[in-house]
Every structure is written in structure tokens, then in C-alpha cells.
Amino acid sequence: MRPVYLVSGGVSKFAKARPDVTFQPMVKEAYDYALKDLGLEHRKAAEIVDGTIASYFSDHFTRQLKAGSMVQDYLGLCPKPSKRVEGGGATGGLAFQSGWESVASGRYDICVVYGWETMSRVNTWKGNEFIALASDVSFDYPVGGFYSGYYAMMVVRHMKQFGTSVEQMALVSVKNHHNALHNPYAQKRMKIRIEDVRRAEMVAWPLTMLDICVMSDGAAVTILASAEGVDKLDKATGRRPRPARVTGVGGGIDAMRMADRPHAEVILLPHEKAEDYEGLKYPGVHSFRAGRMASKTAYQMAGITDPARELDFIELHDAYTSSELQTYEDMGLCRYGEGGKFVEAGKPFMPGLDYGYRFPAQGTIPINPSGGLLACGHPVGATGLMQAVFALWQLQGSIARHFGNDRLQVKNARRGAIHSHAGTGTYVSVSILERAF
């Protein structure tokens, strides 16, 4: 395997609906941004890009099979090779890793990974029905298929097991919506309080409208390259790219039906001991075993032994406030059961921003400085790639240039993680990115 670098990226502004375009020009907005940021001309890109990965989730939402090849031709990248990657909510993270594989293996020197979703083409409740088809259609979907309901059941068990409170979950919503105030790409930007989250309309007890991300139309693009590819880009643009190196990729899967998850023993990270979890039945439905597996394998590859100390920030898959809190634990930022206390201490907030609350340990490891899915939106195939783009900008120290202000810039960020998550924790990917210039 050879080193792989993330050299550039672009994101279309995520919106509730983009009826002004079909999906192809939306991807082109992100692609053009990524090229422009490199200083790479369109014709030159078409010449030196070796291949692409198309990242999109639902044929139901698009109602167009083989949509990937329509993006490829719109971008002017025919006849270069391409393939589609799909894995539910983790589609973007998996596609990113597929791009990494195609460069690491030596097949491509320069690989474009583009992703999108157009979710506005059906009404919200039909959209929820489509998403629920990502649960077993014999045993789960017909009982009342609804992802917010599934996540609610998982966090109810977390609350019972560990004493996690709805106020602790609401703090995640406060944080991510507030961060988004400074991110012009975000869809929902607001200063709210815990009480606002709790007073919002109940969706699936105890999750309210403000605990849950929204559906979006949007696209994101990343460009990956080998060292040789970086040199090619340097030569083509006359400008040395400021890349991040992908130093770890990890993945994990769990049973599609939550009901099938075992009640066994915790998969330990290097900084944990078996005694920490005596008597805890794992993962049950309170934790994501796939997220733990993805973290463990990514950390192993990147040589990380204590993630909360060795990572400067994380962009993680907060489709629900509850799942962000559960993911702190899967990723080993705190012990299982301590996610609520972790957010209450202020650790995942940005340092230096005034959220209207006082925290004893604000900003020790900013989580979702961008505002995450809760505030940016979740156009499924684009989401995991959006995380990679925001992570690259953090590591480049270029947030100010892209966001128009530097309030979300994590100071001197050298190493970050991105985390993409599907189903009720069925596919999870974690990738580690490090500044490499």
C-alpha cells in the first residue's frame, strides 16, 4: 500500500430542496469548487484524473438507475473508469475509503470521489418510508418502519442502562446548531437552548424535531492522490497542493435487525480494560458495535492509542443527538456510559465560542465543529464526503477562506477523524486524516 493524500474538496450548499437543478449540475458545483481551490483547469483535470467513485444512496429517491454515469458525463470525465458505492447513511464514508483503496493499490494516481442525494423529490413522510426500507422488510419495516423510532428505542435503552438524560442529548443539538451559525454551508443555523429542544415537537419519544437531522439536497466532492498524483497536480497547476494524508481507514458492520444484536462483551480499545465494563452486556441496542470496530481498526492503522488525546477534532455522523452521544463512547473518547457526562462537561464544544452555558472543560476535543448533520443537513451520498472536505479545511487551516470567518477553525489542527454511519449502526466507517505539508 502506498500513501494516499486528500488534496482538495468542494461542497454545494445543502438545502431542503434544489428544484433549480437536477443532480448532475449540483455535483458539478462541488467539483468546480474543488478544482478551483487547487487551481486546476477543467480540461487538465479531465486529462489527469485516472478514475472516479460515485457515492449515492437511494435509487428510490433519485428514481433513476445508473445515475452515476450521468454525473460522470456531465463532469466531462468520460471515458475514465468509475464505479458506484452504496452503504446507506455511510455511503459517503465508504466511497471515500473506496477512493483511498484505488489510490493505495496503485490503480489510480488521481481519483475523484463525488457524492450527492436529492431527497426533496418526495414529501418528508414518503422520504421517511424510503429510508425505513433500509430495515428488514419482512420483520422490521412492516411493524412501523421509521428510523427516528429505531434510534429512540436505542437511546431509551442507553438512558435506562447508564442514566443518560434528554437534557444531555439536547446539549448536542445546542452545540451543533450553534456551530453552524458560523458555517455558511449549513442548512439550519440557530442559537437555541436545552428548553427549545425539549419543547420542540415530539417525533419518537424522547427524540424531538431538534434531536433529528433533516433531509437535504446536496453534493460534495473530494480529490485523492498518490505522491505521484500530488506531483502531477503540482506540475499541472504550478501550485503545491496542501494535502492531508489518510493515515487510517477502519470499518465495521452489525446485524441489520437491532433485535439480532448480541449481549456479550465489549470490544476493548488499547486504553481500556476489561474491568471497566464488568457486567455490561454489549452491544445490545444501546451501543454501536460497528462503530467500535471501525474506530479500533482505523486507530490501529494510524497508531492511535488514546483517541481523546491524540485527535484534534472529529466530524462524526450525528443523524440524531443521541447517536452523537453514543458515538463518543464507540470512538473511545470516554468510557461506555459516560457520553452524557462528556457533553455536559463541554468537551465536544468549540473552545472560545459562547454557547450561553458554562462548562468545566469546554473544547478539549471539538466534535462536529461544522455543525454536523444536525445543522448542515444529510443528503446521504454527500454527507460522508462533506465531512472529509471540512476535515481537510481544518487541517489546512483554511476554514476562514472557505467559511468567510475563522470561528470554527480548530487551532493548529494536525490530526482529525471522520466517521460515517448507516442503518441502526449497520455500516460504519472511520478514517483518520493528518496534515501533510
Binding site: W125, S138, D140, V143, G145, D196, M202, A255, H263
Partner: protein, 179 residues
């Protein structure tokens, strides 16, 4: 949230029916075309799937006969509350077993919204049922408790399976009631 925000949430129910449009205005100068609003049309999409329950079919036959079936692995005795015909632990074929009618709530939620197909049934309660000696859970509906009274105290509640008299050959042919 202030008063204005809460007022804005009071809305007349909207539907997606409307008039059929046959003509659209068109500019003289083609340069103006890019400024025109998008044309948005409605495309109905209805499919009947011929879905086979395959190896899981006896579960649905069981429901129609007032029996809740799970499976058990012969060699390792791992017992599945939702049937699987091959064991996840050792890969061996599993046999059908009848589950007790009485179980307990492992976790739950009250859905106040849902996928379009289930919107008309809200609020409804989803539970995962657990049984002693059964290694995995079963997703079902709980009826007979007040949805507005949702509380963590429901976890551990004893529940009893009931069966629909008119089977629809869906997993909802069984549901649970307290007691």
C-alpha cells in the same frame, strides 16, 4: 422559541392534489430562459412486489395459528427471538421453537410521526421484547398503555402476545399488551 414562532407552526393542512397545467409562458429572448423557475411535475409510482418470506415463512404461518415462533441452534443452543434459519454464532441450521407468550419490554418508543404508510396509525408504540433464555429480541407493537405516559418505568414491564383473528401475514399479526 418565541410566541411568533409558535404561531407560525399553526398551519392549514396542505395536500398535493391540484390543477393540470397545459401551457407555460415562454420568453421572446432565449437569454431569459435561465432566469425562469424550474418546471416541477408529479410522477406517480406504484408497484406491487411479489415478496416471498422464503425460509422464514413458517413464522407467519405460526402467527396465523396463534403461535409465536423463534429458532434455536442445535449444536450451540443459541436461541433467536426473531427467527434466523442459520446460526450467527456457529453457522449451523436452526430449528423452529415456540416462544413463550409472556415476555418483557427491553426498550420502547412512542412514534408521533412515521413513514407515510404508518402516519395514520400515530401515535403508536414500538417495543423490543425480551425473554429469559432467549438470546435475541423481537420487534413488535405495544397496545393498551397511554402513549402520553411514556416513561423509562415501562422497561421491564411484563407483556403478553396477542394475535389478530384476521391474519394479514405480516409481523403485526402479533402484538403485545401489558400483563
Amino acid at each position: 422559541m418565541n410566541e411568533q414562532d409558535s404561531k407560525r407552526r399553526i398551519k392549514l393542512t396542505e395536500t398535493e392534489d391540484g390543477n393540470v397545467l397545459f401551457n407555460v409562458p415562454f420568453p421572446k429572448d432565449l437569454k431569459d430562459l435561465k432566469g425562469m423557475a424550474p418546471i416541477v411535475i408529479k410522477q406517480p409510482y406504484h408497484i406491487d412486489y411479489i415478496h416471498s418470506y422464503g425460509q422464514d415463512s413458517p413464522f407467519f404461518a405460526g402467527l396465523a395459528n396463534g403461535k409465536l415462533l423463534g429458532t434455536r441452534c442445535g449444536p450451540c443452543r443459541y436461541t433467536y427471538g426473531t427467527p434466523r434459519l442459520h446460526c450467527m454464532v456457529c453457522g449451523e441450521p436452526c430449528a423452529w421453537v415456540e416462544l413463550p407468550r409472556e415476555g418483557a419490554v427491553h426498550t420502547f418508543t412512542v412514534c408521533h410521526f412515521g413513514g407515510e404508510e404508518f402516519l395514520g396509525e400515530t401515535p403508536f408504540i414500538l417495543i423490543l421484547v425480551e425473554w429469559p433464555g432467549v438470546d435475541t429480541l423481537f420487534l413488535s407493537r405495544l397496545v393498551g398503555v397511554e402513549p402520553e405516559a411514556a416513561s423509562l418505568a415501562w422497561i421491564g414491564m411484563k407483556v403478553c402476545a396477542q394475535f389478530k383473528r384476521l391474519s394479514k401475514f405480516k409481523p403485526t399479526d402479533v402484538y403485545f399488551v401489558p400483563g
